[in-house]
């Protein structure tokens, strides 16, 4: 059980708090001690918007310990709007729809459980963009069991 280890990272895991280098303006996530661009050591904290696009992705079939029950799952490099590239899982996606360039947004999900008795670890994942819909794209309630044409039936 690594309670303190996960606790230390909460502001970054839950809220994607990053840094902006006060010397050259580079946005950094996750936090580090030296700016990778200018080696500056002075930063201001910056809340990332959590919006970006898939830079690369993989569907992981051979899962490591702690993730066996989630396999297969999607892992991705996500290019955030602010610049940093982030390694994170994709969620709420199907293999048929995930692609490089797919717009995504950050959601906070359960990353793993430390067994039946241990801590639940929460953190960022990314899913296809939902929150930026324009009003003219508003979706109507299904009248009864109206099935959207694009729905994926996972069975």
């Amino acid at each position: 059980m690594e309670v303190s280890r996960n606790w230390r990272l909460q502001s970054q895991r839950y809220r994607m708090e990053g840094l902006r280098c006060e010397q050259c303006g580079t946005v950094i996530f996750p936090a580090r001690a030296h700016c990778p661009q200018c080696a500056g050591e002075s930063f201001a904290s910056l809340a990332l918007r959590g919006l970006g696009e898939v830079y690369s992705f993989t569907q992981v079939h051979d899962a490591p310990a702690g993730f066996e029950h989630d396999a297969p799952f999607f892992l991705a490099l996500v290019r955030l709007d602010e610049g940093p590239l982030v390694t994170a899982q994709l969620t709420d996606v199907e293999r048929e729809t995930v692609h490089i360039g797919m717009p995504v947004e950050m959601v906070t999900r359960k990353l793993r459980e430390d067994g039946e008795r241990g801590m639940l670890v929460y953190g960022y994942k990314f899913r296809p963009l939902l929150r930026q819909r324009r009003p003219d794209e508003a979706v109507a309630l299904p009248a009864r069991v109206r099935v959207p044409a694009t729905e994926a039936v996972a069975a």
Binding site: R5, L9, P30, P36, Y55, S56, F57, T58, Q59, V60, H61, D62, A63, P64, A65, G66, F67, E68, D70, F73, L75, A76, L77, P84, L85, V86, T87, A88, Q89, I100, L111, R112, V121, G123
Partner: protein, 403 residues
């Protein structure tokens, strides 16, 4: 293709060129790579060490550098230096373990090289040993995944194959490639492994079946990735005066280790092995040679994408075109730049921290003309490169035959 001989490796430190002694390979040994259910970590180690010490007679090592990645996690065993010195009949000598994930073998070789070249010792033993099969399944995947960033990669479920897959997916996207276009790397490795008695896989791989293998982490599949297994290899290094009069004079002509951004996401360019590129440049400068002077290249083909990127980093292909070398005419035993001449990680097998020492033993065999069916003709100079964590550590050595 005889090259000019560098009298001494040049070593830059605080702008002062230090004079280092020439370092030679006195002997080598290895076990077969595979699932050694009946052999423990120390038994594997002793088998390889005995063979190397016998070959190096009458020289005896004054220091032992053990390359190992996962004994602490998978065997509950650390302090491998003292353990294996003791078990291998070398009780009393200086002995430590060196770890740099998949680059551990090359990193330990470099420590031994520095020890001899500096004059601190006259002989040093490099031992690579890995015992992976005492644990199975997801715990091994997680242990191997500890080469990645635990907080920002592994915590999200990243494994080594998954991170390689992220590189490969992007590479395929940018170059408009299909998985099948990487088949040649695995076909070549299996073709060479077939005649290596120490290889884990000694069967041919058909190019047409490559892309149909089960996925590990898409697009990395079972035929794309190297099998992790048990193994041990050892190499005795010594100063010139330790060489037996009749022995082949195989010199360590270059040794360079570089690092890159640790997490894949932090790399300046995900599709560039910058540490590999820098270590090759430094090594070639030390050996006073260029890419064209290298007769064979044992690269870190844990995944085919790493083979492609390593060839690009070493100057054999332009960025984005390393995949084009993936056929026999280019990388086969008699091709332009032979790679994985004994099967590479893909077919010989990937015993983690021991892999780099296997590479060293294989290059030494090639330069001695002792590679049998796997012999690269007129091999005078060979390069070997280990990667840790998909390239965060890269260690490159060049051996040359002076006979």
């Amino acid at each position: 293709m005889r090259c000019t001989r560098a009298i001494a490796a040049s070593w830059r430190c605080n702008n002062t060129a230090l004079t280092m002694r020439d370092v030679f390979i006195l002997g080598s040994g290895q076990t077969a790579v595979g699932e050694h259910w009946d052999l423990s970590l120390r038994q594997l180690a002793r088998t390889a060490v005995s063979a190397a010490l016998n070959a190096a007679l009458p020289a005896r090592p004054q220091a032992l550098f053990v390359a190992n990645m996962l004994a602490g996690q998978l065997s509950g065993q650390r302090q491998l230096g003292a353990l294996l010195a003791d078990y291998c009949g070398l009780r009393g000598i200086e002995a430590i373990r060196v770890e740099a994930a998949g680059a551990s073998g090359g990193a330990a070789l470099r420590q031994a090289y520095i020890a001899v070249a500096s004059g601190v010792v006259d002989t040093a033993l490099v031992l690579g040993v890995e015992k992976l099969t005492d644990k199975v399944g997801s715990s091994v995947a997680a242990a191997l995944g500890s080469a990645a960033d635990a907080d920002w990669e592994a915590a999200h479920g990243a494994t080594q194959p998954a991170l390689a897959a992220l590189i490969m997916q992007r590479y395929m996207h940018e170059q408009h490639l299909s998985l099948q276009q990487f088949a040649g790397f695995s076909v070549n490795a299996h073709s060479n492994g077939r005649t290596n008695p120490n290889a884990m896989f000694r069967n041919n791989l058909k190019a047409e079946s490559f892309a149909s293998a089960a996925m590990v982490a898409e697009p990395v599949n079972m035929f794309d990735t190297a099998p992790e297994a048990d193994g041990a290899a050892a190499l005795v290094l010594g100063a010139a005066h330790m060489l037996a009069p009749a022995a082949a004079r195989i010199r360590v002509a270059a040794s360079a280790l570089c690092t890159d951004a640790f997490a894949l996401a932090d790399r300046a360019d995900v599709l560039q092995l910058r540490a590999a590129q820098q270590s090759v440049q430094q090594a070639q400068a030390q050996a006073s040679c260029g890419a064209a002077d290298i007769d064979l290249f044992e690269l870190h083909d844990g995944f085919t994408i790493l083979a492609a990127l390593a060839l690009e980093a070493a100057g054999y292909a332009q960025p984005g075109s390393g995949w084009q070398l993936a056929h026999a005419g280019k990388i086969g035993l008699q091709g332009e730049i032979p790679i994985s001449t004994f099967g590479g990680l893909k077919a010989r097998g990937n015993p983690g921290g021991a892999t780099g020492v296997y590479q060293a033993v294989e290059v030494e065999q090639q330069l001695r003309g002792a590679a049998g069916a796997n012999q690269v003709q007129r091999a005078r100079r060979g390069m070997l490169q280990g990667l840790g964590g998909n390239g965060a550590t890269a260690v490159t050595h060049i051996f040359e035959c002076l006979n």
